[in-house]
Amino acid sequence: MPKDTGIGASTVRREDVRFLTGTGEYTDDIVLAKQTYAVFARSTVAHGTIKSIDTSAAEAMPGVLAVFTGEDFVEVGGNPAGWLINSRDGEPMKEPKRPVLAHGKVRHVGDAYAAVIAETIEQARDAVEAIEADIDELPAVVDMNDALSGSNFVHDEIETNQCFDWGWIEDNREATDNAIKNAHHVTTLELVNNRLVPNAMEPRASIGSYKASTGEYTLHTTSQNPHLTRLLISAFVLGIPENMLTVIAPDVGGGFGSKIYHYGEEALVLAAAKKLGRPVKWTADRTESFLTDAHGRDHVTKIELALDAEGNFLAFRTDTKANVGAYLSNFSTATPTFLHGTLMAGNYTVPLVYVNVKAVFTNTAPVDAYRGAGRPEATYSLERVIDKAARELGMDPIELRRKNFIKPDQYPYASAAGLEYDAGNYDALMDKMEEVADVAGFEARRQASEAKGLLRGFGVNAYIEACGIAPSNLVGVLGSRVGLYDAATVRVNATGNLSVMVGAHSHGQGHETAFPQVVAEMLGIDPAVIDIVHGDTSKIPFGMGTYGSRSLAVCGSAVVRATEKIINKAKKIAGHMLEASEHDITLSDGVFSVDGTDKSVTFGEVALKAYIPHEYPLEDIEPGLEETAFYDPANFTYPSGAYACEVEVDPDTGKVRVDRMTAVDDFGNVINPMIVTGQVHGGLAQGIGQALVENTSYDENGQLLSASYMDYTMPRADDMPMFAVDHSQGTLCTHNPLGVKGCGEAGAIGSPPTVVNAVIDALQSGGRNVTHIDMPVTPARVWDAMQNAK
């Protein structure tokens, strides 16, 4: 029977009530007294020299309070990259400054070069139009090959458009080359991992405010990680002491990576608030979101798979160009490297992996981690080339994967791409997928589709990803400039209710419901008395935030550690109250009892005693009951899964419809199955969106053609099937206290190759010799491929 509370219960979400009644509080909902409005002047050209900016007319407009340009920020710092990557020759990556407002040059359409602060938003918009900017347009650098071969530089001072040329694992390069040269069979595939716009439904927004009497700044902002934002603003950009800056991320309407990063607008509203002594609010419209939110993916890859005559994988070699856009966003250098190259062994016993990634500056919006961040790129390359190999060798795609799977008795397993997988059972996942997806019934469904004039195809995928980022010592060696632990404080109040302050931020993931399930289970109390506090740097101890499917695996582990400390101290207090040794006290169902006796006190009585310490051993135990823990993981966690997709292709139009989508995932221990299933659903939709409809298109001048929902296709309800989701085959993570792995990105990682494999299968089984179509597999592209295969 499913439990109704605690770990493993599908508890309905408590946060839903405010969202369902329109009483959630998102940044743009907040109105501060005397607030003013910021609007940005943004470049309409992709690349240009700023010759002059005349703000005098704008400053004279009604309601205008201030106008800022890049000149105002030359003395402050740049927004840094969080990860230093060294090239194969040992040279550090090129790291041009990313200023608050563009200075000297504009480098992508949407690059902000000025900002107006006014009494109303329309006054600010009017004044932006009155700014006279003389910008000399330069040829745009858009195509990555052109960027690498030409002498037109996005950043003149670095005299190249190559950020780095990274090899992984460099020591394996020669052996991999030899394995490919000497192999029985090599399958080669060139593919594009299409650029995506994250499109959280809430556009970014920020309100800066400043209290002159104390020098304190407050930033309300749409962030997945308020402490990280504070750190970046304090330590790198504006230099505001951390203890003078509070960052509050209230209800946040989705992030998917795009709200991890610090953006210039946040620094601008803070600086403007100080100058004006009034709060300054900025809210992006959707066009600004398209132009300036960090985009995702955008890899161009050639992958080769070497196999022996029996179908054993001998080596994977990939050559990837990764677009980083015009500036380095905070995680942009980690995403195509350590979050991608390290996964290029997949679920397989392949002995050799070599990955080369060249990161390329272009006159496009910055590109950074988007749901999955590197792992979808790795999985797509691997699982597409494996599918192609199976076809070339005449092998069943499931059997070829199984033949090369790491087996359950091989853990811990050192992958050829440098990670140590701790646990998994890929055959069990594949077995379950075959059952849930009813693989046996496919042929009958295929014939039914054929009778309707449609081509049905079946696609499969096996993925592994690395979550729970990350062990600080390891990532430090690999170039990370931050640690990736997390923190939690458990505060037991005198009356027995709890506030749990967590460093993870919830913007859809249901932390306010799931974290209390963990604490309640440990303490044996009602989760309703436990309140989660997140998103406010003045209230929570510290936190690196929510991304990389890390909240439960890292912050949840900190919650466990802090709760363990609470239990240990409470046992001491209970021991004192019960005149027994703390070692003889057992906590069960919220009651501390002395082993072998009927003496007990409740959790509530202990809490009260902690705060009213009468007859209390103050020489041994401090009053109060509040504990903090920082948790730094010992390893990544490794969710894995087996996915299946069935599509129907209309051969007359090329239209693809996803008919069945099955996701069988190993997430380890599952705290709230309802929430976990919902996370998979969302990932699947984003993955199907990437595979079939989402297309970020810049023209040769660097104009974004898909800059609104009129041209960027968002998956809609009528594009999606019902999903079949299973997570019954979990193997526990061996190194964190809950045995959890993380579920937020899996759907977006596992589904794109599954869908594309299914489309190729449909076309092949329908007699069309199509071996690859780049994503998004739009009707026009399918039709083109069919024409070319004639």
Binding site: E15, G253, G254, T662, G678, M722, V725
Partner: protein, 161 residues
């Protein structure tokens, strides 16, 4: 500035608006009803759906001046009189039909409009009706389930859930 008067969630309200003031701005900024969200500029995302004289409309694509004299209902007016969640809201909670919550007000208002006209929609009819409501979190699966459940129908059987 011209004066507009309308009924919002059963209450008479009035305010001075410019010609260009959108109904969504009037609700959010003048009336403080911030449950109506604005997620795009092109009348597509549907986070701003409200009911005007009983019909679902996108409040970001209607002038406040055009709502003069109208009866407007927003997400803030949907709960039962005792403050408890109404049938649709409750179904969204029970079936996990929301994650970040930003599209949710529009989803609930669209669902209410659908069920008023079509009390027992099929799964396909629900999906078709949501053409103008974009959700980035849920993949729509649980939204569809919730609306089916709110209509009193068995939710579609889902494998292995």
């Amino acid at each position: 500035m011209t004066k507009v008067t309308m009924t919002v969630n059963g209450k008479a309200v009035s305010g001075d608006v410019e010609g260009r003031t959108l109904l969504s701005s009037f609700l959010r900024e003048d009336q403080g009803l911030t449950g109506t969200h604005v997620g795009c500029d092109t009348s597509q995302c549907g986070a701003c759906v409200v009911h005007v004289d009983g019909a679902a409309v996108k409040a970001c694509t209607m002038l406040a001046a055009e709502a003069d004299g109208a009866e407007v209902n927003t997400i803030e007016g949907q709960a039962n009189a005792d403050g408890s969640l109404n049938v649709i809201q409750q179904a969204f909670q029970d079936h996990h039909g929301l994650q970040c919550g930003f599209c949710t007000p529009g989803m609930v208002m669209s669902a209410a409009a659908l069920l008023k006209d079509n009390p027992k929609p099929s799964e396909q009819e629900v999906r078709d009706y949501l053409e103008g409501n974009i959700c980035r979190c849920t993949g729509y699966h649980n939204i569809v389930k919730a609306i089916m459940a709110a209509s009193g129908q068995d939710v579609p059987a889902m494998a292995a859930e």
